[in-house]
Symmetry: C2
Subunit: 355 residues, 2 copies
Amino acid sequence: MDLHGGNIYKIKDGDKMLDYSANINPLKVPRSLKESITNNIDKLINYPDPNYTDLKEAIAKFTKVDIDNILVGNGAVELIFIFIKSIKPKKTLILGPTFAEYERALKLVGSEIDYLPYGIGDESYFTPVDKVKEEIIKDYDLLIICNPNNPTGHLTDLEDIKEINKIAIENNCKLLIDEAFIDFLPTGEEVSAKNLQSKNICVVRAFTKFYAIPGLRLGFGFTWDIELKKVMDAIKEPWSINTFASLGGPVMLADREYQQRTYRWLEEEKEYIYRELGKVEGIKLYKPQVNFILVKLLTGIKSHELREKLLEKGIIIRDCQNFRLLDHYHIRLAIKDRESNARMVEELTKIINSN
Amino acid sequence: MDLHGGNIYKIKDGDKMLDYSANINPLKVPRSLKESITNNIDKLINYPDPNYTDLKEAIAKFTKVDIDNILVGNGAVELIFIFIKSIKPKKTLILGPTFAEYERALKLVGSEIDYLPYGIGDESYFTPVDKVKEEIIKDYDLLIICNPNNPTGHLTDLEDIKEINKIAIENNCKLLIDEAFIDFLPTGEEVSAKNLQSKNICVVRAFTKFYAIPGLRLGFGFTWDIELKKVMDAIKEPWSINTFASLGGPVMLADREYQQRTYRWLEEEKEYIYRELGKVEGIKLYKPQVNFILVKLLTGIKSHELREKLLEKGIIIRDCQNFRLLDHYHIRLAIKDRESNARMVEELTKIINSN
């Protein structure tokens, strides 16, 4: 299984390298969470609360969504799988290029899958609202939008989601909106599809990237379809969230200082990387909304060649050739701390210039 | 959801009570695991190895099963669900009374379910081998045996499993053997069904009870059916095991001192509880093989009444009336440390005698 940009286990000394392939907050594991873990080790002796009531209450408070509409999972990915298994779509439309796990979950339920490409503008990808509306009047049961989208880094506006959802409802097409990166936007809670409170939309959210804890396994989701929620609850395996995640979730959501530091870091570094990489000739940048940037290679160097050359310099990047609708001229870079970013920009610039 | 004896979250001050309803090792979370957790908090920043290679290697070494036959999961329960979803039985035979989660997993795939009762002897329940053989020549796709069985506490001999499996193979009936408690037997590795290395048998094992870590979520399983394993790997959700469990598994398996202390404790306390409760008139004991004991109430007091009375004394027990094939005259008691056991025996004796 090689699911992910961030599989450092297949690379020699992978944990000593600069990992630009996984989009993880460089502020690292919050101190508040570390304390929570250290203080709660003895609680491993109990099963987690099977209803995860305290965790859900904290999410309800943070997101202002009613607790009855909240689901929690072993990472966002468990909720994506449960949602897809619950609605069992016969035919699904995915806006792409995007995260690959949707396809794996859809294949498990035997769904047909079509991709509709995002539009490509001068500065960034964009969501072709009219085309989406044209498509979903066909016989789709499900439309999946990753928002902000991985790996293109662009945001679909809430108004556009609303408009698409209107047509979707008329055509019995459900929406799955994966907002695994939306918390990196200071306006994340405002632009989230949760604000539509639509019975037709299921929203998936993550702790993973923002709080730098891929190893802890914690995600959550929203649905306003009470019948669907019953089905999801029924197929969910018990205790899939461990004690540290269950107790740590509320602690992280309450850590405003970590959240504010993250917004400040990302505002600066997004700007820095976009400006500095913008000076490199022979690459095209797609303006990032969150903590990663999609880059198109224009000099003829292929993504896997660039990846190999940067690996020699101790830097891992995401070769995007296995994303559907992308080719071997695309790479994705995480946005990290200034020192790392400067080094990555320098090494990448040298390779592109010598190419 | 009220899945379990050990749901302390529904009881006021549940964490301050003596919990005899969850069968957890009273030696508590191993110190070796605590150290591993404390030392590895920063590793949460990486995704766990999606192949969990180091964890599987440690399990292979401990159990002497080839790594290619090993699966790991978010508790034994994830593997039970994945196994049942993979073979999708139309009709399943369960030896009971037993653990309730099999039924929930079977219902998700629409399996018909029949129960075959264990035999009841003077001292303990037993597995009626001939009856099982008679039954599985009918059109069952799957036979489930929990071994040692929860809540009866008896062990099905490996020779009996072997004999049953022979008939099962002839009749295209797979076996799922849940060995979540087998590690409490010092001879656990010898009597495990893994030793049959049968393509027809899937074995599920747990870290949960023995290492006192229901909150960590870690289990493993064996299959010698390579085609089935491919299906199981395909439907398994990625990264379901968190970093602490993934790194802690090998540490626990290497902790011989904890294992030896557990064997010594249980040998003494099993004996003690059986002897002391044996002095109480008005109850029948079923001799325990592992760390819990099934008790039948003969004075007319009902299991929920006894549970209420013991709750008032700060002791939680498992009322077994919702186990299929048991009634409201059965309770299950964990075996804990001497001080707790003495107090539990004293309070229970008082209530039974005054009844």
